[in-house]
Each structure stands twice: as structure tokens, then as C-alpha cells.
């Protein structure tokens, strides 16, 4: 009987909570029309010349990153991105020193263009340290630290020594489980030859995914959601499978063991197999890119739902905002757990498929 009353009271409090938040919000008025979800979303997942961490007391906290580029008319330039104007002028150009502009809206990557005479010419070689390059460096350093410490343990201990404890023990378990379950079970006795590449692939993708999901620095940058990074990883797999493919592999592509009418006058099967050679790495690339981009978009959108509801204005907006806050928080927690799982699964699927392709490229006649 007592428990019943207690549960009713808890339920009543929970129902009153959104209405209370609506009253509290009713005091401050929203002068901004709406929350620009598209800008927030693309600001988080896209590259940019400065690292916008957060807004503190209304002022943005930005780390300005160096810009290094080579223009055909005036040679190498190294400058800081704070030297460029924050707001674009009427032609959507942000002005900077020496006649260079960044084309595009604020906080977007844009292109560096130069005013030659009266027309705008993009600079031909841009190797600036943008936000994603910075995160790439941070990820690489973190990965080197996490892998080289257990490697050092292996060098200074013999095989018969008792197992290591703590961080080294955990990394050992992780690396050996990846090696045994993903690489050795697929490749068999060729595992040792390709294990360095495949293990690097797995741990790099896993680290990069995790750092992209973290909302604060040194995480916060989203590199596997950038198609250039995943394209390079897929290119590595493509080169490895095709450069080390043996004769039987190429014979299976250009003269597969199918009925002759599929091969001889019009080479149907060879063309399909050749498409397959290119499509498999492309699919690897798009799978990783889309999973990471979609995950980040969902996480950011769920959090922004609260702000959108509150920005609707009036008592309706405040009530909706209050009601949707617990829903959004719970869903965000659930999505974050799912994101962690997806980070691991995507790294695992990329490595497993690369191992399978490498195994297929070393096939023997049966």
C-alpha cells in the first residue's frame, strides 16, 4: 500500500516537471527566430580552418589553426586563420592579408582564393593544418602511445613470463582477440604476413571513430566521417589485394570458370568481375563513411531537438521543450551507447572484409 502511494507521487512529480520548466523558461524571451540545425550539424561534421570548441559567456572559444598554402603567383604562405575576417562580406568572401580570401560562409572550410587582377583564382596547393588534420595527428599520437607501450613490454619480457596486468594486459587481450578472431581465422597461415596492416587498420579506425564521438577536445573532430580519409583506407586495401594477387586470382577475374557463352563473344562475366574489383573497396569506403556520418548526425540532431522546441517561442514552445527534454536525454544516452557499439563494429567489419579480400586474392586452383 505504501509503495503504491510512493510510486504515484513519483509519477506526479515527473508529470509536473515539464510544466515547471515551461514556467521557468517563460521569463526569458527568445529573440532568435530559430535554431539553425543545418549550420550546427555541418559545423560539427565538416572540416574548417579553425577549431570552434564551444561558446563561453556568449563569446566563441576558437583555436585558430595555421594555414599553409602555395599560390602560383606569390609562392608559399604561412599564416594563422585568425588573420581572416570572421564574417563574410557581401560577396561571401572572408578577407585576409595579401589579397587572399576564403570563399564561403563563416566557420566553413571554403576555398582559399586569390584576387588576381579582378578575378578570383583558387590557390593551387593547400596543405593547411585544418581541424581534421589536427585531430588526425592527435589520434596518431594516442594510437602510438597505446600500442607501443605493450609492444615495449613484449620486447623486455620473455614468452614464459606471467601475463601483464593493468593497461598493458588489457591492450594485450584486445590485440590478441582481434588477431585470433578476425585475422587468423580468415587468413590461416598467411596471417603473419598481413597482420601488421590489418591490425593497424582496425585500431586506427576504432580510435578515430571513438575520438569523433567524444563531444569535447581532444576528441570532437570527426575524421572517419570524411570521405577522403575512408577513401584512403579503402585505397590501401585495394592496392594490397591487387598488387599481391597471384595468377589464379587474375585468371578468375578475366577468364572465370563459367559456361563459355558468358565469356567468349561478349565478355559479360569478365566485365562484371572487373567491376567487382573496383566496387568492393568503394563499398568499404562508403559503408564506414556513411555509418560514422549518420551516427554523428543523429547524436547532434537529438540533442538539438531540445533547443529547436524551446526556440518555437511562447508557452507552447516552452511546454514542448520541457516535455521533450527527458525524451531527448534518454534517447541521446541510448544513441551514444549504440554509437560506441557501431564504432567497434565498423572497425571490425572493415578489417574482416579486408582480410577476406586478401584471402580471396591468394586463392588456389581447386
Amino acid at each position: 500500500m505504501k509503495y503504491r502511494i510512493k510510486s504515484y507521487l513519483i509519477l506526479l512529480t515527473l508529470m509536473v516537471l515539464p510544466i515547471m520548466t515551461a514556467y521557468a523558461q517563460g521569463e526569458q524571451s527568445e529573440e532568435k527566430g530559430g535554431v539553425h540545425l543545418k549550420e550546427i550539424l555541418f559545423g560539427h561534421v565538416q572540416d574548417s580552418y579553425q577549431w570552434h570548441i564551444t561558446d563561453f559567456n556568449g563569446k566563441p572559444v576558437i583555436i585558430h589553426l595555421p594555414m599553409i598554402f602555395y599560390s602560383q603567383t606569390s609562392g608559399f604562405h604561412v599564416m594563422c586563420s585568425s588573420q581572416f575576417e570572421h564574417e563574410p562580406n557581401s560577396e561571401l568572401l572572408r578577407e585576409g592579408p595579401d589579397g587572399f580570401y576564403i570563399q564561403g560562409a563563416e566557420d566553413e572550410k571554403g576555398r582559399i582564393v586569390e584576387k588576381v587582377g579582378s578575378e578570383l583564382q583558387p590557390v593551387c596547393f593547400d596543405i593547411s593544418i585544418t581541424k581534421q588534420v589536427c585531430v588526425l595527428f592527435i589520434d596518431a599520437i594516442l594510437l602510438l602511445i597505446c600500442i607501443l607501450i605493450p609492444a615495449r613490454w613484449c620486447k623486455t619480457h620473455k614468452v614464459d613470463d606471467p601475463a601483464p596486468k593493468g593497461f598493458t594486459g588489457m591492450m594485450h587481450m584486445f590485440i590478441m582477440s582481434t588477431y585470433n578472431d578476425l585475422i587468423k581465422s580468415t587468413l590461416g597461415e598467411k596471417a603473419d604476413k598481413y597482420a601488421p596492416y590489418l591490425l593497424t587498420c582496425f585500431f586506427f579506425i576504432f580510435t578515430a571513430n571513438l575520438m569523433g564521438v567524444m563531444p569535447f577536445p581532444p576528441g570532437g573532430g570527426n575524421i572517419t566521417g570524411n570521405i577522403a580519409v575512408t577513401a584512403f583506407l579503402a585505397l590501401c586495401t585495394f592496392l594490397l589485394t591487387n598488387v599481391t594477387g597471384n595468377g589464379h586470382y587474375w585468371r578468375e577475374i578475366f577468364w572465370p570458370e563459367v559456361p563459355t557463352w558468358l565469356k567468349c563473344p561478349v565478355p559479360l562475366m569478365p566485365i562484371i568481375e572487373l567491376f567487382g574489383v573496383f566496387i568492393k573497396p568503394i563499398v568499404l569506403m562508403v559503408r564506414l563513411f556513411a555509418n560514422m556520418l549518420a551516427g554523428h548526425a543523429i547524436a547532434i540532431s537529438l540533442s538539438c531537438m531540445i533547443f529547436i522546441m524551446f526556440a518555437l517561442g511562447g508557452w507552447m514552445g516552452n511546454l514542448l521543450g520541457g516535455v521533450i527534454t527527458p525524451v531527448s536525454v534518454l534517447m541521446s544516452i541510448f544513441m551514444m551507447f549504440l554509437e560506441l557499439l557501431v564504432c567497434y563494429i565498423q572497425a571490425m567489419v572493415f578489417t574482416l572484409l579486408s582480410a577476406i579480400y586478401i584471402n580471396m586474392s591468394h586463392s588456389h586452383a581447386e
Binding site: K38, D181, V286, R287, A290, N291
Partner: protein, 82 residues
């Protein structure tokens, strides 16, 4: 008159197409992953000692099916924002 109205709403039509396409893609993913999960459950119930192997195979197959879905997602994003 209606065709003129449709022509003027081209931007909105692109958004409509993108969202409907996204919904259709999720139907395919739901059916595929549902079948994989269901048959994995059946197999795990028949042979409980193979459970961990079946579980990892199920996850891999689900990731492959989801990869196909995400192709459509990318096309929808392109239609909405580009």
C-alpha cells in the same frame, strides 16, 4: 496550372523525394536485419554451444546489410543539401 505549380516547387519536391526515399530504405534494412536476427535466434536455440560464433556472424551480416542501406542515405543527403 498544376504543372507550373509543380515546377515552382522543385526544391520542396527534392526534399520530399529525399525523405520518402529514406523511409523506403529503412524498410529494406528492417526486413533484412530482422530476418538475419530471427534465423540467428533459431540457430542459437538449436545449438547453444555455437552461440558466440553465431553472434559474431550475425553482427557481420547485419553490418553488411546496413552498408547497403547507407548508400541510399548518402543519396538522400545529397538530394537534401546539395
Amino acid at each position: 496550372m498544376t504543372s507550373l505549380a509543380i515546377l515552382m516547387a522543385a526544391d520542396a519536391l527534392a526534399k520530399l523525394g529525399a525523405t520518402v526515399g529514406g523511409g523506403l530504405a529503412v524498410i529494406g534494412a528492417g526486413i533484412g536485419i530482422g530476418k538475419i536476427g530471427g534465423q540467428a535466434m533459431d540457430a542459437m536455440a538449436r545449438q547453444p554451444e555455437m552461440q558466440s560464433k553465431l553472434q559474431s556472424s550475425m553482427i557481420v551480416a547485419a553490418a553488411l546489410v546496413e552498408g547497403a542501406t547507407f548508400f541510399t542515405l548518402i543519396i538522400s543527403i545529397l538530394a537534401l543539401f546539395v
